[in-house]
């Protein structure tokens, strides 16, 4: 009993903005886990956060972690997700790795294999699945309330205000991709969670030798459902997902953690609108989602069960991202055409 009641002793590896804004505040509220050591190549940064959040120890690398901690949150730059997670998992340290799980499918496979080899729990930080609205939508779709789904459209665009600690997200080598690999992974993951495996994709983005900031997908699912996804980090969009079914339509906000959900029943002129809340007072903020995520991870370790978002789900979204980049076409905007295209340097 005693062993079960003990909080999961956890390292936070990578002390950038997501650690400071989400993981550490969530850990201080978590009933299942506590941070005991903060790791960052920049020791000053680790010490600052340790002082702010009352974490007893700091370190500059992960080699000292096995034996000292039960688990780790891996929140380093994207290109380091795989090497850091693999090293920890192999030595039996349970890992919650930030999204995207890795920068390609091969790395995802290696992380999953390392978890199996080390007998450790692997969870992927796709916290949108912990919002009340995403569970509600999944249930509504799975219950067949809309009838056969004819089409969907998702629009997700926000101008970033994130206080980046480093510039890893601006470089292909460290970010692995642009808006698709960043914001896109979150919204495409819930879409896949709602609709199942994807079957085919057409993809366009605006990158011209760098990282895309706008992209559009025409996405088909194995179930036969087709729809469009628009993702942007240059301009604000409606940030909604609309499903049109034979019997009803469902529209839900996907960026507001406590969004409006509108259900329109065809032919009956019935519109139901409201908030998706399982219980009053929680599940309505990003912090709530992060607390749920860490508590689920701790429970998965304690109960030897699979976490809510296991490695194969992180891998699945990566297969879509990778397919998009492989099939990429240029998303040209009328105003981006150069004034003298014939003089373009080829």
């Amino acid at each position: 009993m005693e062993a079960n009641d003990r909080k999961l002793r956890l390292a936070v590896v990578g002390c950038g903005a997501v650690a400071a804004i989400h993981h550490l505040p969530a850990l201080s509220l978590s009933r299942g886990a506590e941070a005991v050591v903060l790791v960052d190549a920049d020791l000053g940064r680790a010490r600052d956060l340790a002082a702010r959040f009352g974490v007893p120890e700091t370190a500059t690398d992960i080699r000292s972690l096995p034996g000292r901690v039960d688990a780790a949150i891996v929140a380093v730059p994207n290109s380091l997700h795989a090497p850091v997670s693999i090293e920890l998992l192999r030595q039996g340290v349970h890992v919650l790795v930030e999204k995207p799980m890795a920068v390609n499918v091969k790395e995802c496979d290696e992380i999953i294999a390392a978890a199996e080899a080390g007998g450790a729990v692997l969870a992927v930080g796709l916290e949108f699945r912990f919002f009340d609205f995403s569970l509600l939508v999944r249930n509504l779709l799975h219950d067949g309330l809309l009838g056969k789904i004819r089409r969907f459209e998702m629009h997700m665009g926000v101008i970033p205000r994130w206080p980046f600690a480093t510039d890893f997200l601006l470089k292909k080598e460290t970010a692995g991709g642009g808006v698709l690999a960043d914001l896109g992974v979150h919204v495409l993951d819930i879409l896949l969670w709602w609709l199942g495996d994807w079957a085919d994709v057409e993809y366009r983005d605006d990158a011209q030798g760098g990282l895309e900031s706008d992209c559009e997908l025409l996405l088909a699912f194995r179930s036969g459902v087709m729809g469009t996804v628009e993702i942007s980090r240059t301009h604000n969009l409606s940030n909604t997902c609309l499903f049109e079914g034979e019997r009803a339509s469902l529209e839900v906000g996907i960026w507001d953690p406590d969004p409006q959900v509108r259900l329109l029943i065809e032919d009956r002129e019935v519109v139901l609108a409201g908030r998706a809340r399982r219980q009053e007072g929680s599940g309505t903020t990003f912090l709530d989602a992060f607390v749920r995520q860490i508590d689920d991870f701790a429970a998965a370790v304690r109960d030897r069960r699979e976490p809510h978002v296991p490695g194969r789900e992180g891998r699945r979204i990566q297969t879509l991202v990778e397919a998009c980049y492989a099939r990429r076409k240029f998303l040209e905007m009328p105003w981006s055409v150069l004034p003298s295209p014939r003089e373009r340097v080829s």
Binding site: G157, L170, T234, L237, E343, V345
Partner: protein, 398 residues
């Protein structure tokens, strides 16, 4: 168009751009890479703002335009420097300091790095309040009276002094009202302001707007970077046609629909409106009460001072109940902004300096840029605005 004149001249050259996350610097970086094959380096202060810039293979250097060590890193090995950054955060005084000191420090770093040239983006505002009639570069520079314009004037003087001292060749461009996709002042802000209220047109908007489409300005900057005649000179950069404010705001009005979003006023009427608007602004005591009402923590802290506790004690023991109710009611309404009586959109008041700005029938001449740089605007107003409208629609601004 004049691009042929500089084709190949920038290929493979290492170019530093400040302000590359912004409207003009961003488009400049894009064209330097895609059109001219230059190796672009961008000095970036805010990583979140750089996501659009990194669509192209540019090298991002994180740093601040006022930090000499960041500048030394950024400028090292650079052959050309474009200075488009300006102060966009902090107090007006701080922004002015960034404009002047950032320019001085950047040009110093460029000189130390042995750059062959710098192009400094100044502004039409260095001519102060302009008069009716033609304006060219021989007009006297004078202060306009706001931090932005006056610090740009100081920075421009500094840049030209550095150039004439022989330390570093510098060319200066003085763009007019730059509009186009992503334009913060003469595009986004105009649209947002027309959505939220009505714009005053002085004398029916017959003042001259002197708009220039962003790509024309960028073309002029590229020419200024390679033409020998540009060194040590300042160039006004404007579009070709004579466009009034009526036409300029009218075109934005049209993007938003049929409803009229402008109001004609004489300068005197606009000044009266400004003064009456100012009189309606909340006074300090009203605003103070409003803050106390809205901020519970501050209110509690003020109330729990010795004086605050004493006042409350006195009030509740000495004042009749009806008075106490009145004070509470006053606390509840104090300092609220006036609510427009009709459903009409409010009229944005124009400060006196801007009344003068919109009144002036100044026609900016671009003969010097044409003669020495070979500048020729490629976008007429109709084309530039059509592209701008397509962008604004896509960007959810309409």
């Amino acid at each position: 168009m004049s691009h042929a004149a500089i084709e190949g001249e920038l290929a493979g050259r290492t170019v530093l751009v400040t302000g590359g996350t912004g409207f003009i610097g961003g488009r400049l970086a894009e064209r330097l890479v895609l059109e001219h094959g230059a190796n672009v380096r961008a000095l970036v202060r805010n990583v979140a703002a750089a996501t659009r810039l990194v669509r192209f293979p540019v090298t991002v250097i994180r740093g601040d335009v006022t930090n000499p060590s960041d500048l030394a890193t950024a400028a090292q090995g650079c052959d050309l420097v474009f200075h488009c950054a300006y102060g966009t955060s902090g107090s007006q005084k701080h922004r002015a300091w960034v404009n002047k000191e950032g320019t001085r420090r950047l040009l110093e770093a460029a000189r130390k790095a042995k750059a062959s040239r710098a192009v400094f983006l100044s502004t039409l505002m260095v001519y102060g309040q302009t008069a009716d009639g033609d304006l060219d570069e021989t007009a006297p520079r004078r202060r306009f009276g706001n931090h932005y314009s006056d610090s740009k004037l100081a920075a421009e003087r500094l840049a030209l002094d550095i150039s004439s001292s022989g330390a570093l060749p510098v060319a200066v461009l003085q763009p007019t009202a730059v509009y186009g996709p992503w334009g913060p002042v003469w595009t986004e802000k105009v649209l947002q302001s027309l959505k939220a209220g009505r714009q005053i047109l002085i004398n029916g908007g017959d003042g001259m707007a002197n708009p220039v489409y962003v790509d024309d300005l960028v073309s002029a900057m590229l020419l200024a970077a390679v033409k020998d005649e540009a060194v040590g000179e300042a160039f006004l950069v404007c579009g070709e046609e004579a466009i009034t404010w009526r036409e300029m705001f009218g075109r934005f009005e049209k993007m938003l629909g049929e409803e009229r979003r402008t109001v004609d006023m004489t300068p005197e009427e606009a000044l009266d409106y400004w003064r009456s608007w100012q009189r309606k602004q909340p006074r300090l005591i009203g605003e103070g009460l409003r803050i106390l009402k809205g901020e519970r923590e501050i209110r509690e802290r003020v109330q729990s001072t010795r004086e605050g506790l004493w006042l409350r004690e006195m009030a509740s023991t000495l004042l009749p109940e009806s008075w106490q109710q009145k004070i509470k009611a006053r606390m509840a309404t104090a300092g609220r902004p006036p609510v427009p009586s009709s459903g009409e959109l409010p009229i944005h008041p124009l400060p006196p300096k801007m009344i003068g700005f919109f009144k002036a029938k100044t026609r900016v001449r671009i003969d010097k840029a044409k003669r020495l740089l070979g500048y020729q605007p490629a976008f007429d107003f109709a084309t530039g605005m059509d592209l701008t409208e397509r962008w604004a629609r896509w960007a959810n601004l309409l």
